[in-house]
């Protein structure tokens, strides 16, 4: 194969991010006279319009036949530079974007000389690779306007509505028997003042009335597979065991009572139950509790139904779970009246007249903040809890009056306009104590009171003892785990939530093409932020589905029939069944190829290559980088 000899090399300063440690001029010097290089330049921001124009001009004026850009990670700007090349008339796959920021200047800032040397090696390897690069064409993939949304909470519903309204068929899959998720459990919400139930109701109405949205509740994920444009999700829909309309009267006949999880066990429900504010109206029988007495006229013969849904895109909106404090953490599970914020939220919603817990009236409450957040186990801040706690305290005060409220916090993070809630709390006479994480508050019992002992930083470290009737722990968020994450191989961030590609550049995309994230599965969020991120995910999906097609990278296998001796090793190696032997030669079904390249590795005659990573390219790269 003929080598490319007019390669342009562009080394980015990244405005100091690179050039502070890597001597970019030296990198340019080291490669500018290499036989395949026509021009080598450095520039302060390669990704800016001016930087891109520099490349475009060189392609046009110098007739470049290949481009190497050494800057940040290709995950950030590979597409940017490929597009620039394309606009200038060069095949975009003759551009090699290599990383000398994350992979050199940032990790070797302690050794600028070595960082520079490493950058030179990386650039040399890239030049070698481009010198043997082939023209490639992207693969056009038509997109059926169909999406799968996992999770029927507010984020999943918001997303489904936005897509449904845009004319896209949506499969909305909810694991529990009813839509709504955790938002419905919140009382009066900030900032608009509606209740969680009202919010859920509103979204459910829109979901229900949109003919493009297919709802599946009580649905277990059996399998999820596929790729952008062709995801398949198999779900098992568990039976509700009821038939026809079931009246409230019938439900009340049920002799079994179990703690109602919706109210965290503060109230009880029957074994057959429904939720008035949401979908579906049909009740469900909880078979773990049911005694099969038959009073509700059930149908125990119903069998689970397995359904397979397809979609071009999968949106994960699987939500969060509140942190469950450990036994003994601030007295949790040791003293009766130590409860968590979500439970307190339900308690104020269901209590009337006076605030009672365990049969005892509550007059004094202490809230302890950052429980399960900002510590060794969970380094992150859970974001919503400061505002949610103050909001809950304000509601309690409004509803029950005459409460004494104490906030034991680390930093009050009532960001943005939520500051007004903090201010209101102060005006309402609530007291604030700041604790040092090195010296956390201690909860003890004294008579029929709980005592919160805190070393208060606001009074210069004075030891304060606060006698209260109840301690509420402001618990943070943890990701709700789902099997679907592993099935689709979505990567996690260090905090355990799902990882977006880049928080600013590609905030709703994951590393897996076509799998998007919405709401709190990506990180703690309040309801406003969760619905906004859900709409953002819908927007990303729209760019594929409303347009109706996308272009995929061409990095799939390529078989050279002249070299192939028909041994069929590759057929067995291929995980996708994409290769067959026809007339004694291996033949690739391109649509099935996943682009792993495993076939190429086992081919005894090296008849198979992976496009964009041809073995001769890799060999030459290795040689180039192996030298000095």
């Amino acid at each position: 194969m003929k080598e490319r000899t007019k390669i342009g090399v562009y080394v980015c300063h990244c405005g100091g991010n690179i050039s502070d440690y890597v001597d970019v001029k030296k990198v340019v010097e080291a490669v500018k006279d290499l036989p395949n290089v026509a021009v080598a330049r450095d520039f302060v921001f390669m990704c800016s319009e001016a930087g891109q124009n520099l490349i475009k001009e060189d392609i046009k004026n110098l007739g470049l036949d290949g481009v190497v850009v050494a800057s940040c990670s290709p995950h950030l700007h590979e597409k940017t530079f490929r597009n620039a090349a394309k606009e200038a008339g060069l095949n975009p796959y003759l551009v090699e974007h290599v990383c000398i920021r994350e992979h050199s200047s940032w990790v070797h800032s302690d050794n600028p000389e070595a960082a520079t040397q490493k950058a030179i090696w990386i650039v040399k390897a890239a030049i070698a690779k481009v010198s043997l690069a082939r023209d490639l064409e992207s693969i056009r993939l038509d997109m059926k306007p169909e999406a799968i949304v996992m999770g029927g909470g507010i984020a999943g519903m918001r997303c489904a509505i936005d897509l449904g309204r845009a004319g896209i068929t949506v499969h909305l899959i909810e694991m529990s028997p009813f839509l709504g998720g955790r938002a419905a459990q919140i009382g009066k919400m900030y900032p608009s003042g509606i209740s969680g139930i009202e919010l859920v109701k509103k979204l459910v109405e829109e979901v229900k009335s949109n003919p493009n949205i297919k709802i599946y509740t009580n649905a277990e994920i059996v399998s999820a597979e596929g790729a952008l444009g062709e995801f398949k999700v198999k779900i098992k829909i568990n039976p509700r065991y009821v038939k026809g309309n079931v009246s409230d009267d019938t439900i009340s006949q049920c002799p079994v009572e179990v703690p109602d999880e919706f109210n965290y066990g503060l109230t009880k429900r029957k074994a057959i139950y429904k939720r008035d504010f949401t979908y579906p109206d049909t009740p469900v029988i909880d078979m773990n509790a049911c005694t099969k007495c038959g009073k509700c006229n059930p149908d125990f013969n119903q069998k689970p139904k397995t359904v397979e849904v397809t979609g071009s895109i999968v949106i994960l909106a699987t939500g969060f779970k509140p942190y469950e404090p450990k036994e003994g953490e601030f007295g949790y599970k040791v003293y009766d009246n130590v409860i968590t914020l979500p439970v307190f939220d339900r308690l104020i919603s269901i209590s009337n007249g006076k605030l009672e817990y365990n049969g005892k009236e509550i007059r004094d409450i202490a809230f302890i903040y950052c429980v399960g957040s900002r510590n060794e186990e969970h380094e992150y801040c859970s974001r919503y809890c400061c505002v949610a706690t103050i909001n809950a305290a304000l509601q309690a005060l409004e509803k029950f009056g005459d409460l004494r409220v104490y906030h034991v916090y680390r930093d009050i993070r009532t960001y943005g306009k939520y500051e007004t809630y903090y201010e209101q709390a102060g005006r309402d006479g609530m007291l604030f104590f700041k604790y040092d994480p090195e010296n956390p508050p201690v909860v003890e019992r004294s008579g029929n009171k709980l005592i919160v002992k805190v070393k208060d930083l606001l009074t210069y470290g004075e030891e304060v003892e606060i006698p209260v009737d109840m301690v509420v722990l402001s618990v943070g968020m943890e990701p709700e785990m789902s099997d679907v994450f592993t099935m689709l191989r979505v990567p996690f961030s260090r905090d355990g939530f799902l990882q977006e590609v880049h928080p600013k550049l590609r905030p709703v995309e994951t590393a897996i093409g076509g799998v998007l994230v919405a709401g709190t599965c990506q990180g703690p969020k309040d309801t406003v932020e969760a619905t906004a991120s859900a709409s953002a995910a819908a927007a990303k999906a729209d760019t594929y589905l409303v347009k109706g097609y996308t272009e995929l990278e061409p990095f799939i296998a390529e078989i050279n029939p002249e070299k192939c001796d028909g041994c069929s090793e590759c057929v067995e190696e291929c995980p996708a069944g994409a290769i067959n032997i026809e007339n004694g030669k291996a033949v690739l079904k391109e649509a099935l190829c996943k682009g792993c390249g495993a076939c190429g590795a086992v081919c005894p005659t090296e008849a198979i290559n992976l496009r964009g990573y041809y073995y001769d390219q890799l060999r030459k790269s290795i040689e180039a980088a192996g030298g000095d």
Partner: protein, 431 residues
Amino acid sequence: MKYDVLVIGGGIAGIEASLTLGDAGFEVLLVEKDPSIGGHMIQLSKVFPTTDCAGCITTPKMAAAASHPKVHLMTYSEVKEVQKTGKEFRVKVLKKPRYVEEDLCIGCGRCEEVCPVLVPREFDYGIVGRKAVYIPFEMAVPKKAVLDLEHCMMCGRCERACPKDAINFLQEPEEVEITVKAIIVATGYNLFPPEKKKEYSYTGNLTLIHTNLNPNIIHSMQMERLLAPSRPYHALLRPGDGKVPERVAWVLCTGSRDKSLGNPLCSRVCCMYSVKQALLYTSAIPFGEAAIYYMDIRAFGKGFEEFYTMVRDLGVYFIRGKVARIESRNGNPVVIVEDTETGEIREDEYDMVVLSIGLLSNPELSEILGIDTNSYGFYVPPEENANPVATKVDGIFVAGTATCPKDIPDTVAEAAAAAAQCIAYLKEVGT
């Protein structure tokens, strides 16, 4: 002229919304009041929590907006009138005269070289000067000169120097009428004017500092410019006398959480950008001392707390207390504060003090658009929890800091959300 969507505001929110809509196949007109798109974000140094340079994220998006076949730019233009008739909005946009022919100008900057008048450079918040005719900044899109007639001597040197005959003093404002089906409002925020907090002794204005009583008291956007890779100075220097600052302090909540100044709201980003600036400062000047005066550190977003902890561990001082006043001693600012964790009254002298100023609303277009604002001037989405970007007017959506101060990840998410609502709406009304 007809478009599907009008996006008002060419900051990161407007750009993101435009690109998303363009990618989905809709015709978008992006109107920006300044001579270049990019908004506040392009002025920033690096951004938390990833410490990517702001330019690395913004400039490619700016370039993409300029070259996108479906996105049309109108810079240095203002929306003057919006009228909804049926399913359409008729909009009047005023194209302000640049006194430079946009299609002729090649951005060579020769006009700027010969111009004899210096004016504080807006892009750098006045830490250096520009000329009366000038390229707004190196990475501007479009990269075209603009002539500031207000400060022009009308000597004609620029006109003679221009190799393309692009200077035209006779340009008049031009009113353009367009028709769109939907509008996204991404008009962003205004900065708190630091001179309003009299106790902190900043005597200039947002873009004027060198005539301050003490030019070593600066505001945070000026610090962004001092730290930015595209900074106008050759090194990190204090503006008062060009010294390398060895001790720098940040005063948080300047103009935020302060009822006496009419802004009780928290500006949401100042904690994190100050923490980030302290990090960038200590990496630029390793022997430098950095101190942050704060009330609460609000590191609430994804990866923020981890970032804050890292900076704290690097040795940046955090002192809890609301700064009472800032005085001057031999040109050095002196911070007077009660440390609320010890009760001690401190007088700390620094080489430079950065006022971490807050974000105020920009309700300029609220009457023209007919959408509600709260008492602070931010737009209020009526059903914020269910749909944070919808307004009471069908077909008008709002995104980014126009509704409340916001960091970049939240702004970008909202911008995309507005695009999603817009697409759903357009599909329903029919395109």
